[in-house]
Symmetry: C2
Subunit: 327 residues, 2 copies
């Protein structure tokens, strides 16, 4: 459908990867088959940014990078629900104005090259599969545990997005029907128990209820409970704070049940865990692995490993997404 202006003898073909991350924007170029960025730019999204401002800022990153050169394709990771088939952003939970924006159409009209776009969890799954912890696996489930909990499937070596593009919502798998109420209205979702902000909320609640516990956590937060984050809870747990450890173990338990249930249903080879909460250290990982193992049937085998690409998962995933489209 699109023809590259590059003469392959003169310039190697390249892919432009974009990351609309909600609070930050990033763009990078890579040559076909290479694993180092040729060049790379990122910026924070201003707090008052809307979709228009994000697009204008991304355009200037792109033009800085490309310097008039034309990539073979553009891949995009978007931090929010996307209709990957239509190339449309459905919504951003962070930035206003993104409702129903035909991002693929806009950029294809502008750059005259094929553009692919998907949500950050699906893109990161593809990135880990092609370039990270999932190299060589045919089936995996990537799970990101940070502000929210989301996931993306690779089945038969390709993304599985579901009939309506909604597959991978492990964050809203119910693991405790008598648990606390989640923003989605249900009780005991994985996200309600394992996401950073909900862990912080649980910590604040327990600190109120149990004034004699959580000494290390209180001191790390300088006795300012608004300073408590998922990261601080991990840190306190590592330093021996038992209350923090309990909250972390509950998060690990919820994630472990979700993973074990997903293993029973789909039996993938591998689970890849990324996102801030999964950096919580050995005690967290031990619980996740043990509970997932206990929840899955003995005949259902899998490994659970940390993501390898870190903050660059969306960009490398965007490269993989563009390649998937070109193949």
């Amino acid at each position: 459908m699109f023809q590259s202006l590059n003469n392959p003898k003169e310039a190697p073909r390249s892919i432009l990867a974009l990351d609309f991350g909600g609070t930050k924007l990033a763009a990078a170029i890579v040559h076909f088959g290479e694993r180092e960025w040729r060049s790379h730019k990122r910026m924070l999204s201003p707090a008052d940014a809307d979709a228009k401002a994000d697009l204008a800022n991304m355009r200037s990153l792109i033009h800085d990078l490309l310097q008039g050169e034309k990539p073979a394709a553009i891949g995009i990771s978007f931090g929010g629900p996307v209709d990957a088939k239509l190339g449309k952003v459905r919504l951003s939970h962070h930035v206003p104005g993104w409702g129903n924006i035909p991002l693929r159409e806009i950029l294809e009209a502008e750059f005259q090259v094929p553009v692919s776009v998907d949500n950050d969890a699906n893109v990161a799954a593809l990135g880990e599969h092609r370039f990270g912890a999932g190299i060589g696996y045919e089936s995996l489930f990537y799970i990101t545990v940070s502000t929210g909990v989301g996931g993306g499937w690779i089945l038969n070596g390709h993304p599985w997005r579901g009939a309506g593009g909604m597959a991978g919502e492990i964050g809203h798998v119910v693991v405790d029907p008598n648990g606390p109420i989640c923003l989605c209205g249900k009780r005991g979702c994985v996200e309600r128990l394992a996401s950073g902000p909900y862990m912080a909320a649980a910590a604040r609640e327990e600190l109120h209820k149990q004034p004699l516990r959580g000494e290390i956590l209180r001191s790390l937060a300088n006795n300012n409970e608004d300073a408590i984050t998922g990261q601080l809870i991990s840190q306190a747990a590592t330093q021996g704070d038992e209350l923090a450890l309990e909250i972390l173990q509950r998060a690990g338990w919820a994630l472990g049940v979700g993973i074990g249930n997903a293993a029973n249903l789909i039996n993938p080879q591998l689970f890849v865990l990324g996102g801030g909460v999964t950096k919580a250290g050995a005690q967290f990982w031990e619980v996740v692995r043990r509970v997932a193992r206990e929840t899955a049937l003995p005949e259902v085998n899998f490994d659970i490993v940390p993501a390898a690409l870190g903050d660059e998962a969306p960009l490398w995933g965007a490269v993989a997404l563009a390649q998937e489209e070109l193949n």
Copy 2:
């Protein structure tokens, strides 16, 4: 690999479908593209049957059917864990001697045609997809709820069996971590709450605890608690027995949570429900549908429909399995 001895001009090509059902054996022949059996045989497995006896009995059914003619392929549904890739039966929970039996190899050597074998849930999923309630859908999850609870996936129009052939184990998805202990050792599995025998056990327990309730159920069972089955509970519930209805609704709730969680994870178009318990009537279906809808995110769409092939699902699925292999 195999050449048919049939001359396609003289005799239409046919498929031989076999069902090793645990307590019964069935075999049938169908012509390519037809939806009526050319001929069909079934028998009960004797109570003392082992794998050898099952095989000998099946052989005599087959020879009765074929009368020396040679089918183009053989498809097999087996009531127990199967390694579909290797064509090996892993085990039967009902009939001794089936551990690690290379069923494909045995029948290919004997009949000199391609043989495919898979477990009954996967085969029934394929049958419903090609010939039943799932015609025209690209993705579905078939769930059977009877003595056990199992399932089989169709994704992208083909069976998804998982990395180790263990996908579809919705029976052992945990829906209530504080629930009763299942045979598998975990608490609150779907099977523990929704299978016929476990429902009957729950009914017996409640009848002991609550001597003034369950009048209709007691009378249907002629006050013989050993006569209580899942089917009798359904019948009692339909006739207004509140205790029976509570147990049925709990089963529906467990199945609904399992379905809603599966929808959030995989987002298939359709769930197809078969097996004796799903014949429990409108009250059961209402709970399953409502709870599944509440458990899935609002953006995750799906239908839940009854299986269409009934007892013939394994045989029609075996036809579809053989065709899948021939294509």
